[in-house]
Symmetry: C3
Subunit: 364 residues, 3 copies
Amino acid sequence: MYKRDLVSITDYSLDELEDLFKLADDIEEHPRRYKSSCNNLKLATLFYEPSTRTRLSHESAMIELGGNVIGFSDAKASSASKGETVSDTMKVMSCFADIIAIRHNLEGTAMVAAEASSVPVINAGDGGHSHPTQTLADLYTIRKNFGRLNNLKIGFCGDLKYGRTVHSLIEALLRYENVEFVLIAPEELALPKGLKNLITDSGAKYEEVSSLEDALPELDILYMTRIQKERFTDLAVYDRLAGVYVLDKEKMERAKEKMIVMHPLPRVDEISTDVDDDPRIQFFQQVMCGKIVRRALILDLIERGSKEPIKRYDDIDEAEVGETCKCSNPKCITHFERGLKMRFKQGKGGKLLCAYCDSKIVEE
Amino acid sequence: MYKRDLVSITDYSLDELEDLFKLADDIEEHPRRYKSSCNNLKLATLFYEPSTRTRLSHESAMIELGGNVIGFSDAKASSASKGETVSDTMKVMSCFADIIAIRHNLEGTAMVAAEASSVPVINAGDGGHSHPTQTLADLYTIRKNFGRLNNLKIGFCGDLKYGRTVHSLIEALLRYENVEFVLIAPEELALPKGLKNLITDSGAKYEEVSSLEDALPELDILYMTRIQKERFTDLAVYDRLAGVYVLDKEKMERAKEKMIVMHPLPRVDEISTDVDDDPRIQFFQQVMCGKIVRRALILDLIERGSKEPIKRYDDIDEAEVGETCKCSNPKCITHFERGLKMRFKQGKGGKLLCAYCDSKIVEE
Amino acid sequence: MYKRDLVSITDYSLDELEDLFKLADDIEEHPRRYKSSCNNLKLATLFYEPSTRTRLSHESAMIELGGNVIGFSDAKASSASKGETVSDTMKVMSCFADIIAIRHNLEGTAMVAAEASSVPVINAGDGGHSHPTQTLADLYTIRKNFGRLNNLKIGFCGDLKYGRTVHSLIEALLRYENVEFVLIAPEELALPKGLKNLITDSGAKYEEVSSLEDALPELDILYMTRIQKERFTDLAVYDRLAGVYVLDKEKMERAKEKMIVMHPLPRVDEISTDVDDDPRIQFFQQVMCGKIVRRALILDLIERGSKEPIKRYDDIDEAEVGETCKCSNPKCITHFERGLKMRFKQGKGGKLLCAYCDSKIVEE
């Protein structure tokens, strides 16, 4: 068996995802059966940037399986400040832990970590690139509410440009049949063109609208997002946009009775607290679902492994590529990690992509 | 049963406190009986400002009951920096933990936390407002040394103006019979007038003196406090006052043989290290008592709950109050927490108080 | 029995070290036998400066023995910022933990901690002074690879001036027979004269060379070190020296087949990643050995204790010494800790040394 990791949601096939969700259901129904499953095992949470919710969700999940936790919650506490590579840190951590959850500000770091570590690695967020356990939580929440992941109309509202959780969930839902997307955002924060093409290419439909009120009555799911202050260099633009898409009691009256509202949290002003008691509000339930599905994930990674090694890059002759090519993404780990072998994958139309962060490769 | 919290020491009646202390005694005598009481349960320590002693005391207590710990020790590691309200954070944390200990710099935060959380909340200090587990530790230390909490003469020395632990302990002791207070402080750091009135109104006696030497021979308990540098805006005033009230070997000779010296720690210069071996010095024993009584508290909150919901505010018609009224305390959580419903309580003489931080309500 | 600590590697006799290594072997071979050895016990990791590897190595070791962990990873989270002495903090921590691992930036702190604590203390690094668990890890790695700790030729390469791990390992190996030292360093980073004298005085041999290539073929062990940027005040000197001693594939070809390469980690550029797959590269194995030997250390400190109190200072009449003498080391804890009794030991030729940090004593 090969070691298994969760670097990207596509590391799991649809069948494997379904097995994972069933395992999550089973743990939820019979917690006592699983309360010693990870006895004497250790999860390391290596958080190079703080994220209390994600970290504590993983830690709770491990503890509820009878396991233990070590780690750090801040880059300052790590050896990175002394110039250690992520690969070396992972080799060290593999001596201490049985499974690792890593969060890092640089994109593509999770793949570097997975390749260096001898124990399973969970990507708990690598910059703006990927955050697959959030996607697992989102999928599991939808499945729990609707009993299915196909035949749904889902609206995404707020920051669709930078919202990593939005991008990941769209990609994940495109693997299911007949999911329609309604994109509710100001022009400045519209979904990137690449993702819109991806929807169309997958044979799915999307529409772009600017009014939350108008879109609401049609939706099965409304996925709200925070407009993140830290994404803006011009705070004036932020101030203008922040208040635009706010969900309140009045708007909720227009929604279906069985519709649900999701949010990756933290929320700031985009959902008024006066709707919190509405049973359609499911974002705290979503947190609970996140913990439940992470229990299944940890158990699955530790116990099952993979029959085949996960293939994350294509065997492209590096000579063909040229020695002067590099990843176009300035936040990609490939620009910072010493001794890292560049990996490529074939994108659509033969375009060369960075296997770590999925960005385009450019010649210098 | 209702969920129980410890927001203020008055959340426990005198009978309930006595039960708690007896439980603490029992755990201390039979630790093995309790070593699995909290198996599979998690304490979350949410410390928005650092306090190693208080945090580790709670964590040790939980571990000694067989439980686990998650949390953070620093606001930076929390979602607060992303603009999340305390209420939302507590709802999230309720998904992860079975009991929560929170420390926050803003006054009144513990009540906000208790109202939002679905699991028991322990106030581990909310700004200058309240620190009831320290008071529990103090009461338990006194009870362990004297076998009683009434008929005592207790001297408070040092910073009686800002010393939160002093204020809380005085209020707690006023519930017991025949406790006399000797207030030993410079004029600049005298006990606030409100608290002096409270003593008198409760039918208890106090005297204010400026000499530690003169006061010592009469005391059953001397409660020393650190003059906290961080409370002063003018460091010259601090420098003048810091050295005034220092307990040393010579002064200890004037004290009763059965007298005890307490201190909330950390001490700086106010108690000379040359008295550390004196058996009357009880401040490290006080740390041990704090851990012991916290074991009882955690167990009590998780297992017993409350027959009645704790009533922390009066049903005052908000219209009566006027929409323009607000808490007079600029460090009160009510000025920072979005979506918070203002709560009032009736103070003495019908004066309106903020239910969160006990400060006066003012009209704008 | 007396409480035992590991302040310095010399706290253990050679026989005791051998027992410790045998215990480490036994735990490694039969982990199940030991998986509950520390049930219900707590290790406190008090890290006043961050060091992820060392902290997590201790924590992993404790958890693998069935124990629990509390602590902090950063001075900011401690009471030191409020002016508490190390001694007071240790007395408090003794109420919470059954064993303590402390790391501090000031030299001599571990001895202060050991004297104040009522539970065993492990020195996890006190400034540039001592880091005995690293030395344990190094010795155990050598013993595991060669089956012996005598009759070895070991080369030290890189920063031999400031490299604390180098100094400690040399001192430790001098207790074994027939160990030869090859010192490979630029003049600016040569081994301090005191240590070279110590080698000679112990009857051992050393040679100083400047070429890594030339030295390699003779060595049983090559101990590489990072040239630490943070040790330099003049960054130009750092830049010139950093790249000089780099181990790569070509150089490895000159080494013996049974030779091993060690490194205390983190490495930066001094070992090329292209040699990582060479079986002689043992620095990740060294991390594993560090965890294994720490399991034995924790168990030994908790269970065995010491028949005799460890004697760390001589009974020198302080009057003889004169009241105006002090430690010559400005980074020594004696200049910062209030209420600390100065301790001395007799160095070679009757020279007076600070018992805390081993530096010379000077008259003011």
